[in-house]
Amino acid sequence: MGGMTTATSGPDLTALRRLRLAKDVMDRDWADPIDVAAVAARAGYSRHHFVRLFGDVYGETPGRYLARRRIERAQDLLRTANLTVTEICMLVGFTSLGTFCTRFKEQAGMTPTEYRRASRGPATSAVPGCFVLLWAGGFAGR
């Protein structure tokens, strides 16, 4: 079974596959009440081991990755959906409005309300989502 790392080679292909499947869970099921411990369990790792391996391979902790994906989905909804900020906060999987607003401002540089005001308008780009998502580092859920 893979998963061991060495100083020179990093995780083997089996471990990389398991980490990828765990990352896909976060990309696909971000709106569900999943947390890092649940994702680690799905990948078959202890939480501690999973956090370390994931960070080595993808350059950020799984907790940061999941929060970043959720904020990105919130940005999408703020642009396009007629929902309140609180509704969007819950919809993308945050349980605390305070945490959501803090993380949103860290990532987007403005509050959710300011973001909505600044970004409402007709779509201006015709690049297929999948390619932009590769650039952005992951795939959207539903």
Binding site: R17, D24, T80, A123, S125, A126, P128, V132, L133, L134
Partner: protein, 150 residues
């Protein structure tokens, strides 16, 4: 004058497994499966039944196509899931999604209505991702771009 794209490379971790995935699960047909000489290069191509003039060659990165170190790096990138290999078109994204998901294909995005069509995203058995798109004849501006608009 270039007239068309006839062949594209799909990098995979195992040719037999990839052949089984692209034919048994995705439903493509085998065009070639040839070994060039004793222990020589295995040449496998697959393609969509309705598109005979475009084939996909299933290749494992490594010697003699590239040096061993580069091959190992490529394999890790594939297994990590960071490589995308293209977009397949379908006439019914929802039905094809259900068929493929039931067959065990890993999806990272369920069908979503986008301005350019209905799109899902799946991975092959090695880890590379593909769009599965049912294109619209014209843009539907009322649909969400998802993460398309930066």
């Amino acid at each position: 004058m270039i007239t068309k794209l006839g062949l594209a490379t799909v990098w995979c971790l195992d040719q037999d497994a990839a052949k089984s995935f692209f034919t048994g699960k995705l439903g493509l047909e085998v065009r070639d499966d040839i070994t060039l000489g004793e222990g020589g290069m295995r040449w496998i191509t697959v393609g969509a039944k309705d598109q005979p003039d475009l084939g996909l060659t299933l290749m494992v990165p490594g010697p003699p196509t590239m040096d061993a170190e580069s091959g190992e790096q490529m394999k890790k990138l594939i297994a990590k899931g960071v490589l995308g290999a293209g977009a397949f078109h379908t006439d019914d994204c929802q039905a094809e999604y259900e068929r493929l998901a039931a067959a065990g294909v890993e999806f990272v995005q369920k069908p979503e209505r986008r301005p350019y069509g209905v799109e899902a995203v799946f991975r092959d058995d090695s880890g590379s991702w593909y769009s599965l798109t049912q294109p619209f004849d014209r843009l539907d501006e009322s649909a969400s771009w998802g993460d398309c608009v930066g």
